[in-house]
């Protein structure tokens, strides 16, 4: 037996531990499979801002009131109908299961995520944008502009420069005609001592977890609340661990609902989410391996992950895009784990196929950053079963599935469907991988 541990044989190997990989692993586990999950490091899920963005109506007019907008699934259908390269289009035959997938994934993470309602919540960001999300972390729910009544008090900690409450509030003021509540900025004497003034968001979140700190904030808030205030909106630093109950403690002392706005980077909510994912995987009996999968042969053949040998009936590749490392560009675009061709992108080269990968960066981008960028939307091309395709358009392996941002054809970082695609593809791929492993095993069975 090798010193670094015995070889692992399982039904499903998931490569990647973000939202797509975790959903796939949990779905496969749910279907009774033995699951190992290999991940190199926390990926972009750990950097997310707290929103679970699934879809918002691409055809909605900017002045359409929140109440009159299409629901999440209907919005996804509209995206599928208008964006030919988008995974929702590729999976248009399975979109009726989008909601099941979202409910499954959010249910698995119910310790941290609020249950989705079917319509989008409208949440403020540090940039003063109103961001639609199917659901969000529990600590953010009360900040939904479509639901909040009375006056929304945006809290400005006097001692720290990181956030500008006026900028945050400007989003709600702009959205007033859409149904957003009245907004006031409330300055609190928070973080006034020098150490706190220079702390990064994670350190601030830890400060608020200390005994008595959240209660003190709540008492301060109670004294400053404007007339009619029903919700106090804080920067996204209300504790690193949900177990510390920082929002609840502030609420208790202030006598008003408390919420966080969404986070940019560095992101405390992202860390919380990644931690919740890890806890859920461990609790579900998924074997989590730390290490990179690189140059592997794929399902049925052994792969080395961090010094361990793993062999699995079927694989789900959920390794992310550039941040996750599932897709890379080293002079040209490539997929490092299995060497699959990078064929999908949106914009000018959507049909370029094999000619996409080697093009210079300047040709794969366009001047206006807001236009679709082929380079940033590059990834694997998959069929409706989520099998990655090879350069000839054939299924690379019937035992191989792809999920999440490694699937190309859409700008997952900014098109407002990133988490939805991760949950739908993860759920479908996890179930399919488990089904293939059960129906057509090729590995010798033990015990």
């Amino acid at each position: 037996m090798p010193a670094d541990g015995a070889a692992i044989t399982c039904d499903v190997l998931v490569v990647g531990g973000g939202m797509a990989g975790a959903t796939a692993a949990l779905a496969a586990r749910d279907a009774g499979a033995r699951v190992a999950l290999a991940r190199r490091a926390p990926g972009s899920t750990g950097l997310s801002g707290g929103a679970v963005s699934v879809a918002h109506d691409p055809a909605a007019l900017p002045d359409a009131p929140f109440g009159g907008r299409a629901g999440v699934v209907e919005s996804a259908r509209r995206i599928a109908a208008t964006h030919p390269g988008h995974p929702y289009h590729v999976l248009r035959g399975s979109l009726d299961r989008l909601w099941t997938a979202v409910e499954f994934a959010t249910g698995q993470l119910s310790s941290i995520l609020a249950p989705p309602s079917g319509r989008n919540r409208w949440l403020l960001t540090p940039f003063g944008k109103v961001h639609p999300a199917a659901t969000c972390q529990r600590s953010m729910v009360a900040g939904d502009l479509a639901e909040a009544k009375g006056v929304l008090a945006v809290v400005a900690p006097r001692g720290h420069l990181w956030w500008d409450a006026g900028l945050v509030a400007s989003g709600a003021i702009r959205a007033r005609p859409l149904g957003a509540p009245e907004t006031r900025v409330v300055a609190l004497d928070l973080f006034l001592w020098e150490d706190a003034a220079l702390a990064r968001p994670v350190d601030l979140a830890r400060l608020l977890e200390a005994p008595g700190a959240a209660e003190e904030v709540g008492r301060m808030l109670a004294q400053r609340l404007p007339r009619g205030a029903t919700v106090a909106l804080f920067p996204p630093i209300l504790g690193l661990s949900p177990g510390a109950r920082v929002p609840e403690r502030v609420e208790g002392a202030a006598g008003v609902q408390v919420a966080e706005f969404l986070s940019d980077l560095p992101s405390v909510p992202g860390l919380r989410l990644q931690r919740a994912v890890d806890e859920r995987l461990a609790a579900s009996g998924v074997t989590v391996l730390a290490g990179e999968v690189h140059g592997a042969a794929g399902p049925g053949a052994p792969a080395r992950v961090g010094g361990r040998e793993v062999v699995a009936e079927s694989w789900v590749l959920a390794s992310g895009r550039f941040v996750g490392g599932g897709i890379a560009r080293r002079g040209e675009l490539l997929e490092p784990a299995l060497g699959l061709p990078v064929l999908a992108s949106e914009g000018a080269f959507a049909e370029a196929g094999a000619h996409l990968a080697a093009r210079p960066a300047a040709s794969l981008t366009v001047r206006d950053s807001r236009s679709p960028q082929p380079l940033l939307s590059a990834g694997l091309k998959v069929d409706a079963e989520l099998h990655p395709l090879d350069a000839d358009g054939r299924v690379a392996s019937p035992r191989l599935f792809a999920a999440g941002a490694v699937v190309g054809g859409h700008d997952q970082a900014s098109d407002g469907t990133g988490m939805g695609v991760a949950m739908l593809t993860g759920w479908l791929a996890g179930r399919s991988a488990a089904a293939v492993a059960r129906a057509r095993p090729v590995l010798p069975r033990r015990g």
Binding site: S44, L47, G49, S53, T125, P126, F127, G128, K129, H131, G159, H160, L161, W162, D164, G166, L167, S170, E194, A197, L198, L262, D264, L265, P266, R321, F322, V323, G325, A328, R329, R330, G331, P360, A361, A362, S363, L364, T365, R367, D368, S369, R370, L375, L376, D411, A413, S414, D415, G416, G418
Partner: protein, 548 residues
């Protein structure tokens, strides 16, 4: 429209020559208006290699340029010591002595003579004389060089922050009474009986229009001169050349390395401030100087040239490709490289615009001497008694009594690397800057960890350094241009500037968007490796969460 004001001279263009000329004229007691249609140094001066080199490249064709440049490099070190740093260069020999052909031996000899001749000029700029290095010594100094080299000669040059050099000249001009208007375009020249009588301008931000009465106008608009001249009925002949540079995320080599491009042109890889720069292309450019981007072939050309000597450059993280258009004197025939870096002050009297002078050519290293020449000419034209030029003696703002960064770091409780960057950028003004942080401890927040930008620095430049747009901070303190692309710092800096300049949320968002767009245009041609992963994050934050 307000009552027109009178000036002795109106200078158009806030590059090194325009700002330098404005300073010189103002120091001689002239009343000066400087108009710049964008920000200071937003043209060629801000896209230069960031060197006040003596111009060894020009020694063969233009020895006068080399001498002028070396002498002035010495002066610039004197007036802005904080902004200037040494860059030793290696000029490697392509092969080992044993196997060298006669032609290669001849080339070494020529190189040694070439560099040896340059040594004669080194004392003028305070550089060290060259040294001949054996192959072993060369590899000990620079292990990243490809194997098989026969040694190298060294060559001493000076690096500088080009945009800040322009800014300091403009600030000094202001301190001597000049009026500086950035983001203000000269829309027309008024003439009367063959003479210039005034300039009309328009503020691009407020839309305000105004008129200046003046008898003398200096056109130092660089690559914009031909277009501007045509609109104003004068001819400014020149041969514009586009130069592209690449930035690497770190100091990739210990020394500057002179390389040969595939077509035999000389180019370089050099450590510069906290990054490395690869430069430069030189191609005729007849496009719109307002619409300038590096192309993929230019990026490939630069990388290939460096790869011949430093193979590992292919694995380097490129952070941006930036370009500018240099102006060279008009000549038909010679290749771009062989064109003179000499300069010329064109008198437009024969076109019915007496009093209008266009500056063409020249180089950053000689900006001060060129400015002196302009000021002399303006003085002469106005019939004033000549007054001595003092621009080589009086320090630029911050150039006197430069403080010790370590001491400042200790006194104000900021990290020493940050203090070092601040002293580099601000010289003695770093003291006032850090006093802001003493008054408000929040301002000790390090906004950008790549460039060591303190919140206090953002506030300081917004207050004291002619900032009108957020993107001006790219040139004041290198905001958001490093590998991070503004992931951490762009929003926070925008919030600070908004507070200083009284922007509302919509303005803030519009400014942020402009800044990010300018960065994107420089990055998109070089997105690869980890920089591409960074781009994905930037997009998630700024497009996704910011809606920008």
């Amino acid at each position: 429209m307000p009552e027109p004001r009178r000036y002795d001279v109106v200078v158009l263009g806030g590059g090194a020559n325009g700002a330098g000329a404005a300073r010189d004229c103002a120091m001689r007691g002239l009343s000066v208006l400087l108009l710049e249609k964008r920000d200071l140094a937003s043209g060629a001066s801000g896209a230069s290699s960031g060197m006040i080199h003596g111009g060894i490249r020009y020694m063969l064709s233009d020895r006068r340029v080399t001498e002028l440049a070396c002498r002035d490099a010495g002066y610039i070190r004197r007036i802005a010591p904080h902004l200037v740093f040494r860059i030793p260069f290696l000029m490697p020999f392509a092969s080992r002595a044993e196997g060298a052909t006669l032609a290669e031996r001849a080339a070494w000899y020529a190189t040694e003579v070439y560099v040896g001749t340059y040594d004669l000029y080194q004392p003028l700029k305070g550089g060290k004389p060259s040294t001949r290095l054996s192959a072993e010594e060369t590899y000990a100094l620079e292990p990243s060089l490809r194997p098989g080299l026969g040694g190298a000669v060294t060559l001493d040059e000076w690096g500088i922050d080009g945009p800040r050099l322009c800014l300091l000249n403009a600030l000094s001009a202001e301190a001597h009474g000049a009026e500086v208007r950035t983001w203000t375009e000269a829309t027309a020249i008024d003439r009367h009986e063959g003479r210039v009588v005034g300039v009309r301008w328009r503020d691009a931000i407020t839309g305000e229009r105004g008129e200046a009465r003046t008898a003398a106008v200096v056109n130092a608009t660089g690559a914009w001169s031909p277009l501007w001249g045509r609109a104003n009925g004068v001819d400014v002949p020149m041969r514009p050349g586009k130069g592209v540079h690449l930035s690497l995320d770190r100091r990739f080599s210990n020394y500057g390395i002179i390389c040969k491009a595939v077509d035999g042109r000389q180019m370089f890889l050099m450590p510069h401030e906290d990054e490395s720069i690869i430069g430069t292309t030189d191609d005729d450019f007849y496009g719109d100087p307002d619409d300038l981007e590096a192309t993929s072939d230019e990026v490939a050309y630069l990388l290939e040239g460096v790869e011949s000597l430093v193979p590992s450059v292919r694995g380097a993280r490129l952070t941006r490709a930036w370009s500018g258009v240099r102006t060279t004197l008009y000549e038909y025939g010679p290749t771009e490289d062989a064109l003179s870096r000499e300069h010329q002050l064109i008198d437009h009297a024969h076109e019915g615009a007496a009093g209008l002078f266009s500056f063409v050519g020249g180089k950053l290293a000689s900006y001060r001497a060129q400015s002196e020449e302009i000021a002399d000419r303006v003085e002469g034209f106005l019939g004033l008694a000549p007054r001595p030029c003092k621009t080589h003696e009086e320090p630029l703002p911050g150039g006197e009594a430069v403080p010790d960064p370590r001491e400042l770091a200790e006194r104000h409780g900021v990290p020493e690397p940050v203090a070092r960057r601040i002293v580099f950028r601000h010289g003695s003004r770093a003291r006032d800057l850090l006093l802001l942080a003493d008054d408000d401890p929040r301002l000790k927040l390090v906004v950008c960890r790549d460039e060591g930008i303190l919140a206090a620095e953002v506030v300081f430049v917004a207050r004291h350094e002619r900032v009108r747009r957020l993107e001006d901070l790219r040139r004041r303190c290198r905001l958001a241009i490093a590998g991070c692309g503004g992931l951490d710092c762009a929003r926070v800096a925008a919030q600070l500037v908004a507070r200083e300049l009284d922007w509302d949320a919509d303005q803030l968002r519009a400014e942020l968007r402009e800044l990010l767009e300018a960065n994107w245009r420089e990055r998109r041609a070089v997105l690869d490796g980890w920089q591409l992963a960074e781009e994905e994050l930037l997009r998630a934050v700024h497009r996704g969460l910011g809606g920008l």
